[in-house]
Amino acid sequence: MQELRRIVGDAHVLVEDADVIVYEQDGSILQAMPEIVVLPADVTQVSEVIRAARRAGFPIVPRGSGTGLAGGAVPAGGGVVVSLARLNRLLGVDYRNRTAELEPGVINLEVTKGVAKAGFFYAPDPSSQAACSIGGNLANNSGGPHTLAYGVTTNHALGVEVVLHDGSIVWLGGTVPDVPGYDLCGVFVGSEGTLGIVTRAIVRLMRAREDVRTLLAIFDSMDSATQAVVDITAAGIVPAALEMMDKTTIEAVERGAPAGYPRDAEAVLLLEVEGVREYTERALRMAHEVCTRAGARQVRAARDEQERQALWKGRKGAFGALGTLAPNYYVMDGVVPRSKLPQTMRAVAEIAEQYQVRIANVFHAGDGNLHPNILFDIRVPGALDRVIEAGAAILRACVAVGGSLTGEHGIGLEKRDYMEWLFSKDDLEAMTRVRLAFDPQRAFNPGKIFPTPVSCGEVRRAPARIPEGLWI
């Protein structure tokens, strides 16, 4: 501790319960107390902090903004939490080559804000973008509503500077795409803080689109809504976003922050297309037709930016509005091949029935990325256990149709024991070898991603406090 204080200054080492308690949880339902929290200011300090912590034998848990939904930043085995919040500078922007160089603590939305005037944007847009950090996005390979057209974080990361377990600093990837050698930047993105700490990144910027069109389609059955999703892509339309909300979510929205969705609808689909005007107009017309053919009761197209914002408002407020239906909710994150969407949504409904839980679905339908929110009241004895069982059943259903355990939120602590559903022992063994090649003593984020027979440290469960202004 003394040494840590020397490295980063007294003010940036927290040890008192009252101070570190802020760092015991992320956006998941899992909690564990860190022993020490350190807030370094630059890469040299990060390197020295890692060396000092390792000398003293502490595990290291990197943390960005703590909005992760899988317990990735929760210090399951105690140890030192290294917060990257102070490394928050936008180091440079190269508009001609469309790249930005940033520190990991930069808030996602700040990147787009910083370059919007010049006509650019940073594509990965998790709904938590007002709070989450680029470092956390890289670690979790985060997506967002516009991932459908632009891909997840890994598609936008060119290179990262990483501090390894021994304090050494390496550059993985490049400053241009497709550099030779092993794609270690690709390995690092999505590694959930288990390989090292990213201290700098070069990301791609994209040109703002000439035109954006948005439409809302209202359906009387979930089946026809999911079928519309399948048909839209089959028709060759590549929407920039294709988002779905079910009846329960609509009810919450209309109670919480009304967006004018009909309460008796079974599902609404929000579709956005971007590009040159000739394309967007035509794509919107085609999407309109497809939705109608799939049985949409009504299709509304936004005529101007204000109407567009109004259509999105319900979607963005959905998560917060769920609070009007139940005191607590548990958001799941599964992904299935798009063509399996109709059958998986039926399975989710059956699971809700079977486990006697209420589920609100609001999700990135175009990617087949489900977010069933299980509503519950933590005060009801046994409720949380039932919720977790129902959640596991949903993920099993996803894996059973060729899908996966997580579309964008990561495995973290939450789903590490489910990894065996997806990967064979040999597969996990190969991943472990890669892990050990980077981090031979499992210094970083122990107990995450990989199934562990022994429970490490004290992990408690409690609903998370989600900051205002974020949406799922």
């Binding site: 241009v176 030779p180 794609d183 060759g236 590009g275 040159v276």
Partner: protein, 487 residues
């Protein structure tokens, strides 16, 4: 354990894959001495052509027991010497494993064996209105396995991305002989992205025996524009400005005067033989969107005094325009007995500057350099034409090549855009990566292949002894000139 002798090894191999598929006679092996990196070659000791993943597993286990290196090879069109057995050993040629196992039109993916020839996959998926996007110039012969090995690109990768963007998962045989699957048909599988790691690993981490790739829907319409410029600088400026205008053509290819003349002499593609450079620009998408897009591109080109702007008016015309580009490399064979095709990449904005540098390097060394390349990606292919029989010539060619790559790196680019590292550019890796960066890669190599069985001497430079200078002294490959493949 007693190391197996060669005779026992060969006998066992014959049992595993069948006698006709094990080659050991020098006259059979000679075919496998070389790939398209024309300036080096080395003979394998044994060539094995397996028919299934399980056979690959057993062959690797046997080679390991015998202490013999294993080199994977597809069609051998690689341009970096990646499949040359520099330390001898057992070559696994995957061309017999050439079945398309599945085309799932609904989920838009295909499962193939590694020996499937690139173009055969697009041909087979055309029935469903789909295609496989990565289209290296060698697509008529190169294999999907080799494409994955080198993370190959192609003209249309400007819009669609290189091979790595289209691989969803694969089956791979590790150096232990174990068979593993990585990735998944659902995008962005959790855990470490091992599929991404294997793409571009040049046969050094495992031998790929099955690949799941993404297929794309064929575009509704295509337009192709030929723009002829007086100087290469005008053409380079056009490329830079088209992109800066926010237009992403599906392809933007450049051909300089040297190549143009060779092409015209060979196939009469209709390129003016006395111009400075031509650009071939293609856009794809919805019928209504294309004319507007073409107009915008033409408007940019017009700012740079084009001599001709010509749109292909039919599929036949389009094919003819492309034919010139696609056969450019072959046509160069007419101009000199041999050539050395380089591959560097620079930020697009640096294209004019670096092209001028390439011309200057050619002048300094008194060499003829032809340029035909993926201009939209900033991916240069300066091709040095030479006669290997001239004394001292090859050393000059290698020196000029090195200077070109240095110029690319100095401009913020890299030593290869798509052809990979192999033996050719191993030492140049030090220009891009620090010893610590390289060490991280070596540790990953060790994690997969602890005894260094797979494709030794490729991709990564040897560990630098302490105190050594981080610079390249001489190319690491042994230079034994041969006549060009196409001459």
């Amino acid at each position: 354990m007693k190391v197996m002798d060669r005779r026992t090894l060969v006998a066992r191999l014959r049992e595993v894959v069948g006698a006709p598929h094990v080659l050991t006679r020098p006259e059979d092996l000679v075919v496998y001495e070389q790939d398209a990196f024309l300036v080096a070659h080395a003979s394998p000791d044994i060539v094995v052509l397996p028919g299934a993943a399980a056979e690959v597993g057993t062959v690797i286990a046997l080679a390991r027991a015998a202490g013999v290196p294993v080199i994977a090879r597809g069609a051998g069109t690689g341009l970096n010497g990646g499949s040359i057995p520099v330390a001898g050993g057992l070559m696994l040629v995957l061309t017999r494993m050439n079945r398309i196992l599945e085309i799932d039109a609904r989920s838009r993916l295909a499962v193939v064996e590694p020996g499937v020839v690139n173009i055969d996959l697009s041909a087979a998926s055309a029935r469903d209105g789909l295609f496989y996007a990565p289209d290296p110039g060698s697509q008529g012969v190169s294999t999907i396995g080799g494409n994955v090995g080198n993370n190959a690109g192609g003209p249309h990768c400007l819009a669609y991305g290189v091979t790595g963007n289209h691989v969803l998962g694969m089956e791979v045989v590790l150096s232990s002989g174990e068979i593993m699957t990585v990735g998944s048909p659902a995008v962005d599988a959790p855990g470490y992205d091992l599929a991404g790691l294997l793409v571009g690993s040049e046969g050094t981490l495992g031998v790929i025996t099955r690949i799941t790739v993404r297929l794309l829907r064929q575009a509704e319409a295509v337009r192709t524009l030929l723009a002829v410029f007086e100087t290469i600088d005008d053409a380079s400026q056009t490329v830079s400005e088209v992109i800066a205008a926010g237009i992403v053509p599906t392809a933007m290819e450049m051909i300089d005067a040297v190549v143009m003349r060779a092409v015209e002499a060979a196939i009469h593609a209709g390129y003016p033989a006395d111009a400075g450079a031509v650009l071939l620009i293609e856009v794809e998408g919805h019928v209504q969107a294309l004319p507007g897009l073409m107009e915008r591109i033409a408007a940019v080109a017009k700012r740079h005094r084009p001599r001709v702007l010509r749109q292909a008016n039919s599929a036949r015309e389009r094919e003819l325009l492309w034919k010139g580009r696609k056969e450019g490399a072959g046509a160069l064979g007419r101009l000199a007995p041999s050539y050395y095709l380089h591959d560097g990449v620079v930020p697009r904005t640096k294209l004019p500057e670096v092209m001028a540098k390439v011309a200057a390097i050619a002048r300094t060394h008194g060499l003829v350099i032809g340029n035909l390349f993926h201009a939209g990606d900033g991916n240069l292919h300066p091709t040095i034409l030479f006669d290997p029989r001239q004394p001292g010539m090859l050393a000059r060619v290698v020196q000029a090549g090195e200077e070109i790559l240095r110029a690319c790196v100095a401009a913020g680019g890299s030593i290869t855009g798509e052809h990979g590292v192999g033996i050719e550019k191993r030492e140049y890796m030090r220009w891009l990566f620090t010893e610590a960066d390289l060490q991280a890669m070596r540790r990953v190599k060790d994690a997969f292949d602890p005894t260094g069985l797979l494709n030794p001497g490729k991709l990564l430079p040897d560990v630098m002894s302490s105190g050594a200078q981080a610079d390249v002294k001489s190319p690491a490959f042994s230079v034994r000139p041969r006549a060009g493949l196409w001459s």
